[in-house]
């Protein structure tokens, strides 16, 4: 009537206990992890080899590709494959967008955490979340129908310009920067504030001399993440930037970025042609840049841990 099985039979691991649901479950979740690893590796390998083809197979010079400003792949006699204008365009809109979005985003974060911590967050947080929710094509569409004509009529130029691109991108990355900056500011220990106020500092002095320096690595992370998003954004920029192959002379000139050229030409170039392959090489630059942003963010977070 008591335990019918011996202690060995009850308590030692057996084949049955090893191959039960526990095993199947563990197998399933490990499989999921393997899928994620394979996806990341596959993307790197596929886009890496495909992106190098224009140099290895088609004999395009890497140096020319990266440093020439002449882009004319369809010229049969004398094709030119310089993508510097697009690289420049990508970096230009990214930095310009960050230049607008960073002060606004960090300012918004400070408003939520320091100026009006009780109700400011309740009001601004949902607003920021709603901004995140607006799809990028909608930003592009509004940029195209509102911003471009507005700039054409009030500022000058065609309207399709670096300026339009940077404004659209700035609004798109504003929520990213605001959210992360808010988290950074609100996770600062309260004794920093109390200590500063106790010394008779005003709120602005506290923010400028104590809080912002303390949160600086996280605030930089916020800006870098925003820039990473801006650098990779394709459709919204493509709709407003004008997509010309020349280097812009002013902020009101039309321009192009790596993503906009890919968006525009991938669909109607022949797969495997030199021009098509150079588009894949531009994709590889985007991939490498997104790795670079990851490294930069890791560097910043290691500095944050050191503090």
């Amino acid at each position: 009537m008591e335990k019918l099985l011996s202690a060995q039979e009850r308590l030692l691991k057996s084949k049955r206990s090893r191959l039960g649901g526990e095993f199947r479950g563990k197998f399933f979740v490990i499989l999921c992890a393997v899928i994620m690893i394979s996806a990341a590796i596959a993307i790197t390998i596929f886009l890496g080899t495909k992106g190098l083809q224009s140099f290895t197979k088609n004999g395009v010079s890497i140096l020319e590709f990266l440093t020439s400003t002449k882009w004319n792949p369809t010229d049969k006699a004398n094709p030119a494959y310089g993508v510097l204008p697009f690289i420049f365009g990508s970096f230009a809109v990214t930095f310009l967008a960050a230049l607008i979005a960073a002060p606004l985003g960090i300012g918004g974060a400070i408003f939520m955490t320091e100026i009006a911590p009780s109700w400011g967050r309740k009001v601004l947080q949902p607003i920021v979340e709603l901004l995140v929710g607006i799809p990028s094509v909608v930003y592009g569409f509004i940029g195209l129908t509102v911003l471009v004509p507005f700039i054409r009529e009030n500022v000058g130029g065609l309207g399709f310009s670096l300026l339009s691109g940077m404004i659209v991108l700035a609004i798109m990355i504003l929520p990213t920067i605001t959210t992360i900056a808010t988290d950074a500011m609100s996770s600062l220990p309260n004794h920093l504030r109390e200590g500063s106020y106790a010394l008779g500092a005003t709120r602005w002095q506290t923010i400028r001399k104590v809080l912002v320096p303390a949160a600086l690595p996280s605030l930089l992370t916020a800006i870098i993440l925003g820039m990473a998003r801006a650098f990779g954004e394709a459709l919204a920029v493509q709709m407003v930037i004008g997509n010309v192959r020349d280097l812009p002379n002013s902020i009101l000139d039309a321009s192009a970025t790596l993503t906009t050229i890919i968006t525009l030409n991938m669909g109607h170039t022949t797969y495997g042609s030199v021009e098509n392959n150079t588009l894949w090489s531009m994709g590889l630059i985007l991939l490498i840049m997104s790795f670079a942003f990851i490294l930069l963010i890791r560097y910043l977070s290691s500095r944050r841990k050191l503090r």
């Binding site: 009537m1 008591e2 099985l5 202690a7 009850r10 308590l11 030692l12 691991k13 057996s14």
Partner: protein, 273 residues
């Protein structure tokens, strides 16, 4: 195990399941050392834990008593970097060994925690959750075990009309008795209690203490407690731990009236800890 569980409800629940009057040990601890990474939390202790009795582990915080308790049903496995040396013999097997089926072990050596931790399910499901996993599916059998274990945990009269309400609707003391009921429903041989009454009000505390004394006839109980009065009220033997060492282990009466080691005397008279 499954057959054993199925059979056991036919037993007379009021009669002790172990008829041995002679004090026989259920767990033998030999030179047990427990490490958290580099740090040693328990420094080679040896003791016999007796069947059908209440063994209290006392000592100041951080003395290793909870660590020791959690090693008896291998809950320490959950803490990354922790490992144990030495042995704890149960039913002739070293339960610290690699080839022990930890899940099966925990069915026989149950544990009740400091903070009541019922599942966010109904009172009824809290008890049937593990039973169903152990293979008992029949509704009538489940009903029977639920009632039996709630009665044994002195909770039945308070909850019999609302078995399907959320366990969170119970008071802290009731929740803790539910956790005990859920553990004894598995009919373990040993019940480990980690300061089970410390989070409770005095009345609930008294109820849980009565319950523990009551359970002794069917189970071997090891309890960690901070509360010296509690140890002296409910336990048969008491072990005093300090800095990972077992300082003294004897009959509770002896420990509290005439301890042999000075440190024990100092601790129980409240001079430190």
């Amino acid at each position: 195990m499954v057959t054993a569980l199925k059979e056991r409800t036919t037993m007379d629940v009021t009669a002790p399941s172990h008829h041995n009057d002679r004090l026989e040990s259920i767990l033998s601890v030999n030179n047990l050392q427990i490490f958290y990474g580099e740090k040693r939390a328990v420094n080679g202790i040896s003791m016999e834990i007796e069947k059908n009795s209440v063994t209290a582990l006392i000592g100041p915080s951080g003395c290793g008593k909870s660590t020791f308790l959690r090693s008896i049903n291998r809950m320490n496995d959950l803490i990354p970097g922790s490992y144990a040396k030495g042995e704890i013999i149960y039913e002739g097997l070293n339960i610290l060994a690699e080839d022990i089926n930890v899940t099966a072990l925990r069915k026989e050596i149950g544990m009740v925690f400091q903070k009541p931790n019922p599942f966010p399910k109904s009172i009824y499901e809290n008890i049937t959750h593990a039973l169903k996993f152990a293979g008992i599916k029949k509704k009538s059998k489940l009903d029977e075990i639920v009632e039996e274990s709630l009665r044994n945990a002195a909770l039945w009269d308070e909850v019999k009309d609302r078995l399907h309400s959320s366990a969170y609707s119970l008071s802290g003391g009731q929740q803790q008795r539910l956790c005990i009921a859920r553990t004894i429903a598995m009919k373990p041989n040993v019940i480990l209690l980690d300061e089970p009454a410390s989070a409770l009000d005095p009345i609930s505390n008294a109820k849980v203490e009565d319950l523990i004394v009551d359970l002794k006839k069917d189970y071997s109980i090891v309890i960690v407690t901070h509360n010296m009065q509690q140890a002296s009220r409910i336990s048969d033997k008491t072990a005093f731990f300090l800095n990972g060492d077992l300082i003294e282990y004897d009959r509770t009466e002896k420990i509290f009236t005439n301890p042999s080691v000075e440190k024990t005397e100092e601790y129980i008279s409240g001079r430190f800890g």
